[in-house]
Structure formats: structure tokens, C-alpha cells
């Protein structure tokens, strides 16, 4: 089993939840499909959904909710 990285396509602020009082899109340990939304990036006051892009098990986020991220930065890892 290998690990694959999910990277941010955009710079901005990463959110794991659709709204401040909602549960996260994905919990650590969840399985994900390629088309699953794993978070939002806020860039210049507009919000963009981030899809996993790859399928895998046991997602492990490497950034916290509300953290600033760079384009290309790893957001999470999954086991494949």
C-alpha cells in the first residue's frame, strides 16, 4: 500500500467544512472517491471546492481548518 498526496490547486485559506457550524466534508480516516469534495479554498473572497482528484482510503489531512495554504501545498494524504 502506498500513500498519495492531494495538493491545493490554488493559494488561499483552506476550510474543511462547508460552513463554520457544519461538520467537516471528510473526517480523518474516511475513504474518498476522486469526485468527493474534501474542502474549500477561499481565494480573494471567493470560495472554490476542492475535489480529492484520486480515490483512496484513510484520508489524513496535513493542514487544519482555516489554515493559509500555497498553490501546490499538500492538503491531505490517502492510502492506495
Amino acid at each position: 500500500m502506498s500513500k498519495a498526496e492531494i495538493r491545493s490547486p490554488l493559494p488561499g485559506t483552506f476550510y474543511r467544512k462547508p460552513a463554520p457550524d457544519s461538520p467537516p466534508f471528510k473526517q480523518d480516516g474516511d475513504a474518498v472517491a476522486a469526485s468527493d469534495v474534501i474542502g474549500l479554498i477561499e481565494v480573494m473572497k471567493s470560495f472554490h471546492e476542492i475535489q480529492a482528484g484520486i480515490a483512496g482510503n484513510g484520508i489524513a489531512f496535513t493542514v487544519d481548518d482555516g489554515d493559509p495554504v500555497m498553490a501546490g501545498q499538500v492538503l491531505a494524504e490517502v492510502e492506495q
Binding site: L10, P11, G12, T13, V43, M44, K45, S46, G66, P68
Partner: protein
């Protein structure tokens, strides 16, 4: 009190603008900045700079405690809040005053009163300013709302009492839709603004957005004529001009007098803007709201009147009376402002932060580019996309548009996508040249005129 030192509680192009105005008046400037803005132009220009927190605005530019700590540490005489962020936050104005520092703007009381859209509507009506047909203030429940909706007719707007700036508005076109949307709008307003209060207004179709610049020193009140800001996308202004060519002299006089009456009614101090919808067909204007701060588009007014609005705000905050009398304020020529944003107009206005490798700015007496950019600057993803405002003055509107086309061609921002091509297309558009537009013109134009151009370009690639 003479202001000798000023804290600038903002960022971006307006912080640059305020720094320059304050220095022209001989003030020492202190710029606050977030960790993302350490290399900003405003920080470079200021005499001193104080870091106030992480990139997220709520932890820095919106953090009253952090901004106040900086103001106290720098021992400033005054604080200029700019626009956005804390500029219309009455709690912040209170905190500044409580620290014995001058707030560059109206009193916290006036901000509170005019910031409550329902209270502002009442003040306007009492001052004799026409308001859009709608509810007399907040509506208590869906039953009362239903009666009002039936009386004024559809389409109508459900608006959040605590909203403003185009936020917290829903348009509904039938009673069925109204009944479904009303409870949702209330819940959403409670979540977004901490106040679920709603009011109702009729939609004025094909309206134009006109607004009047006011100045007051608490005793004397003047207007600096109007601006027209009808070219909007998603309720955000894209292009503004002054004066509005759609107004006849008689309507202009009535409109501007109504804004002065409103300023007088609240003993206004500082610069403010009274916003209206103007129905060209009936020649009626209707009050929308008052913005108790400097506006993004203030330079078009400066261009046609020769008044430096930011310097005037600073003098008023220092206790000086207005430097101009109404009879001294005259309109000369025409001015247009284009908001240059870091957005890709060919990709649905996708935000485009990143490094700017080269910058070439058009020069000339009648051209002004108010910007946060310098060559080598990296545009941050954490704040809004406004890079600068290209403002051009001409002897009349046709001359102004010609100069604008030249200025847009000479403006080079290399490294990131910007809205310059959008403005080039607008400046060349016959409908825009004829001033035949209203507040819903631009979105339709983007789909029918601009989008086919975009498709053509993609094929050519």
C-alpha cells in the same frame, strides 16, 4: 486639535492613498499590516509600520483589539479606517474615541444610525428624501410581509436590515416564491449579520445607480455632485463615472439637495455617500443607503471638482471647518474609473493572485492609477482582488472615453490575469459610449457581447 500623526487601519490601494494624503498634510503615518502584507506598498510608504496579526482579516484588519493596541503603542492623534474592514463598525469608532484618538469619519452614533438600513430609510423619509416603495421598517412576521408584498407588487426584494453593500438581498417574483424565501432569508441574515431582521422593497427595473458625495463638519454640509455606478457584476461596481449624463439639471439639483438634507438631519461629520436608484423612464430617484466612509470610486469626484476628499476628511477630523462652500464646488469635464482586479474575465472572473513581474503605468495630468502594485510585488490570495483604479479625466465624456482607451492600452500588468481586457471592451462598446445602460446591463453584456469574443479567442489559440 491638529492631527500630527495618523494610524491607517486598512490595506491595499486605499492605504497607499491615505498615506499620501496624510503626508501631503505633513502628518507622520503609521501603517498596520498583517503577516501577509509585510512587503506591501503602504508599509513601504509609511513612516512606521506595526504588524497586527496573521493573514486572515478577522485576526488582523478586523481585530479591534489588535488595531487599538497598535494605535496606542504608536501614540497617534487619529485613525483613518479606509473602506471595508472596520470603516463602518460603530464599536471600533467607539473604541478609538474612548482612547482619546480622533476617528476619521462620523460619530459612532451616526454610523450606528445610518448602518441600520431600516433606521436610515426612516431618517431619509423624514428628511424628505424619496425612498423605494416598501415596508415601513422591519417586518414582524411572514403574515405582515405577505400583506405588504401584495400591496407593492412583484418583483420585490427581501433585504437584511443589517446587510448592505449588496449583501443579504433576495429577489422574488411571486407570492409562492416569497413565502418560501422569507424564512430562509431571516435565518441567513441571523447567521451572517447576527440580526435576522428583514425589510421589503420593490424592485425598480432598469434602474441606474447614482450616488451623491457629501461632506460635513457637523455644522456645514455640501455635496460634490453625483457619480454613476450602474456597471456592476454580482452587485459589485466595475466602472464608475462622474457626472451622470443621464440626469437633467433640474433632477441633479433635487437629487444633490436631498443628500445635503440627509447630511444635515444627522449633523454629519466627514465624507459620506448617499446612494440612490434612478428610474430613467419616470425621472424619479429613490434612496437606497448611506455609506459613512470614503468610497472606492471617490477619485472620479476628485477629478471633476478638484477637491481632495481624503485630505478634506483628515482636516475635518482635526476639527477644521469645511474648506469649501457649496457655491465654490463646480463640475469640470467628465471622469471615468475602471476597477482593475486580479481576475480573469475570460475564465468567469477566476481570482488570479500571484507575482507581478512588470508594471507600466500610463502617465499624464488627466490620468491617475491608484494602486497597491509595484514591479515584483506578489498579489496576496487573502484579500479582495482590487489591484488598482485607473481614473481618467476628459473635457467631456467622449474625450474622456478616448483618453481612457489610450490609458488602458498603456497600462501593462505582467504576470497575472487582470480585468484590463474587460475594460478595453467596455470602453470600445457603442452602448457604453452612448451611456445606454442600467444596473443589470453588464451581466447580460458579458454573456451576449463579451462571451462570443472570448469564444473566438479560444478558437484562435
Amino acid at each position: 486639535m491638529t492631527i500630527r500623526s495618523l494610524l491607517i487601519a486598512n490595506r491595499g490601494e486605499i492605504a497607499v492613498r491615505i498615506n499620501r494624503a496624510a503626508k501631503a498634510l505633513g502628518m507622520r503615518t503609521v501603517q498596520v499590516y498583517s503577516q501577509a502584507d509585510a512587503s506591501s506598498l503602504a508599509v513601504r510608504l509609511a513612516d512606521e509600520a506595526i504588524e497586527i496579526g496573521p493573514p486572515a482579516a478577522r485576526k488582523s484588519y478586523l481585530n479591534i483589539d489588535a488595531v487599538m493596541a497598535a494605535a496606542r503603542a504608536a501614540k497617534v492623534d487619529a485613525v483613518h479606517p479606509g473602506y471595508g474592514f472596520l470603516s463602518e463598525n460603530a464599536e471600533f469608532a467607539d473604541a478609538v474615541a474612548a482612547a482619546g484618538i480622533a476617528f476619521v469619519g462620523p460619530s459612532a452614533e451616526a454610523i450606528r444610525l445610518l448602518g441600520d438600513k431600516v433606521a436610515a430609510r426612516r431618517v431619509a423619509a423624514e428628511a424628505g428624501v424619496p425612498t423605494v416603495p416598501g415596508s415601513d421598517g422591519r417586518v414582524a412576521d411572514v403574515g405582515e410581509a405577505r400583506e405588504i408584498a401584495a400591496r407593492i407588487g412583484f418583483p420585490l426584494m427581501i433585504k437584511a436590515a443589517a446587510g448592505g453593500g449588496g449583501r443579504g438581498i433576495r429577489i422574488v417574483s411571486s407570492m409562492e416564491e416569497f413565502e418560501r424565501q422569507f424564512p430562509q432569508a431571516s435565518a441567513e441574515a441571523a447567521a451572517a449579520f447576527g440580526d435576522g431582521g428583514l425589510y421589503i422593497e420593490k424592485v425598480i427595473e432598469q434602474a441606474r445607480h447614482v450616488e451623491v458625495q457629501i461632506l460635513g463638519d457637523g455644522t456645514n454640509f455640501v455635496h460634490c455632485f453625483e457619480r454613476e455606478c450602474s456597471l456592476q457584476r454580482r452587485r459589485q461596481k466595475v466602472w464608475e463615472e462622474a457626472p451622470s449624463v443621464t440626469l437633467g439639471p433640474h433632477i441633479r439639483e433635487k437629487l444633490c439637495a436631498s443628500a445635503v438634507a440627509l447630511a444635515r438631519a444627522v449633523a454629519y461629520r466627514g465624507a459620506g455617500t448617499v446612494e440612490y436608484l434612478y428610474d430613467e423612464a419616470s425621472e424619479e430617484f429613490y434612496f437606497i443607503e448611506v455609506n459613512t466612509r470614503i468610497q472606492v470610486e471617490h477619485p472620479v469626484t476628485e477629478m471633476i471638482t478638484g477637491i481632495d476628499l481624503v485630505q478634506e476628511m483628515l482636516r475635518i477630523a482635526g476639527g477644521a471647518p469645511l474648506s469649501v462652500r457649496q457655491e465654490d464646488i463646480r463640475v469640470s469635464g467628465h471622469a471615468v474609473e475602471c476597477r482593475i482586479n486580479a481576475e480573469d474575465p475570460y475564465r468567469d472572473f477566476m481570482p488570479a493572485p500571484g507575482p507581478v513581474h512588470e508594471l507600466e503605468v500610463p502617465d499624464g495630468e488627466r490620468v491617475r492609477f491608484d494602486t497597491l502594485l509595484y514591479a515584483g510585488y506578489e498579489v496576496s490570495p487573502f484579500y479582495d482582488s482590487l489591484l488598482g483604479k485607473l481614473v481618467v479625466h476628459g473635457s467631456d465624456r467622449a474625450d474622456c472615453l478616448q483618453r481612457l482607451r489610450d490609458a488602458l492600452a498603456a497600462l501593462k500588468i505582467v504576470g497575472i490575469a487582470t480585468t484590463v481586457p474587460l475594460h478595453q471592451a467596455l470602453a470600445a462598446d457603442p452602448e457604453v459610449a452612448a451611456s445606454r445602460y442600467h444596473t443589470r446591463f453588464l451581466e447580460h453584456w458579458l454573456q451576449t457581447v463579451f462571451a462570443p469574443v472570448q469564444g473566438g479567442r479560444e478558437e484562435a489559440r
